[in-house]
Symmetry: C2
Subunit: 254 residues, 2 copies
């Protein structure tokens, strides 16, 4: 266990544009904040900047809604073109009500609107929407590799997104992409304080870290979509965020 964990939001990142070199932007932000990477650091990056760099910004004018999208849009009081994007990104519709579509994203993530967001993006060329990265585990691995090459240091990387939850109000940051970090820490078979066998203790390390880091990043006007987490060993694990999503046959809330 660490004696102390620290989380430093990285201020001063520029607006990210499609094709931007995120590793270079990260290193510039680190330098601007007077920091250099150390072995075992964990970089948490807001999903939004990954999606922007990967060109996941879609102009709604380019979307042709299907009959089903138009019907769902009427039911939920949403823009039919946005609903079409949500359907395109999803494998399953779980719940709907006016203003809300709870979807299973094709990646496995369950949440509102398939993670598609219209805030903190430019609508200067007409109304737009930002999709999740196509493959956030790979995005995390690529950023980790590039930062490792540039610095010679092994990091953990987490891509985090703010999510709503069914029974608890208020968003918290969760991991949607990871590289080089233990995702699920399996205590099953371990012993507790009194020597009793632990039955079900699988700890989600990356969601646990993404939560506080996301709170500090402040995705809105503060413009700090990255945070450096120091003091918790990422363990150079091959696990991925894709390992988090509960298998369909264990889902009691479909």
């Amino acid at each position: 266990m660490p004696a102390e964990l620290s989380i430093r939001p990285l201020a001063g990142l520029p607006m990210v544009e499609p094709g931007d070199d995120l590793a270079a932007l990260t290193l510039a932000a680190m330098a601007e904040n007077g920091l250099t990477f150390q072995a075992g650091d964990i970089l948490v990056v807001a999903q939004k900047v990954i999606s922007k760099a990967e060109g996941q910004l879609i102009k709604l004018a380019d979307v042709e809604p299907s009959a089903r999208a138009i019907e769902l849009a009427t039911e939920t009081d949403k823009d039919p073109r946005l609903v079409q994007l949500i359907l395109d990104e999803s494998s399953d519709l779980l719940r709907k009500k006016p203003g809300v579509l709870i979807m299973r994203h094709r990646l496995g993530i369950v949440g509102a609107h398939a993670g598609i967001d219209q805030s903190n993006i430019s609508h200067a060329d007409g109304e737009a929407a930002l999709l999740l990265p196509r493959d956030p585990d790979t995005s995390a691995a690529e950023l980790r590799l590039a930062l490792g090459k540039a610095t010679g240091v092994e990091l953990g990387v987490i891509i985090a997104d703010s999510m709503n939850r069914p029974w608890r109000l208020g968003t918290i940051g969760c991991a949607i992409g990871c590289s080089g970090i233990t995702v699920l820490d399996d205590h099953v078979g371990g012993k507790d304080l009194f020597g009793r066998e632990l039955k079900v203790t699988l700890i989600n390390r990356v969601d646990s870290i993404a939560a506080t880091a996301t709170l500090l990043m402040g995705e809105t006007t503060e413009r700090t979509p990255m945070a450096l987490v120091r003091g918790f060993d990422p363990e150079d694990s091959p696990q991925r965020a894709a390992d988090i999503y509960r298998p369909l046959d264990e889902d009691l809330f479909r």
Copy 2:
């Protein structure tokens, strides 16, 4: 936004017994870890030590299961006395399957087994189970008051419990009791980076903080059920963890 947030697990707490003075134990642990409270610090405490100090340990031999508890226990392959405790603590049964009962606790918390746990407690006098604190917001307020009196410093206090979630594997720590800290940060009506109005941005600050703190505390053999969070203003808010639970009429997953 803070330049840096730190989380320090407080090592060396003794086993907590019913009636123990948690404020005194906290101050001893702080001293043992070379720390003193500063204004704006947030203390995160694992639910388990609050419950133990409040005498929420129940001997299963003292529980008489009802016919319904026996029936549910057969269906879910659980101890009927444990199921009786779960029913006694809950207002609603949401889902059941072998090994699992998803309940709405009378406090409003939705989760497995009404938060009742059999790990990290002594079964020396026969098998036992630990209930959640009777009123964790009040427990947090009392601990905060006692620590404030002893130190002259205003803190935020969060009581955290590890919880499972419907679609994401692995537990994370969530807040079940709070005092002196903003629970839900309401950005609705604010503006994003591009001046667009933010539609739905309610941020759950206490769950966000409880998550990483709980990861560091390590509730099992590490015996560090408290953590000191420094660098995030608790804002002396009157909000409570009870404000987190989504109203029944908004629950799409009953």
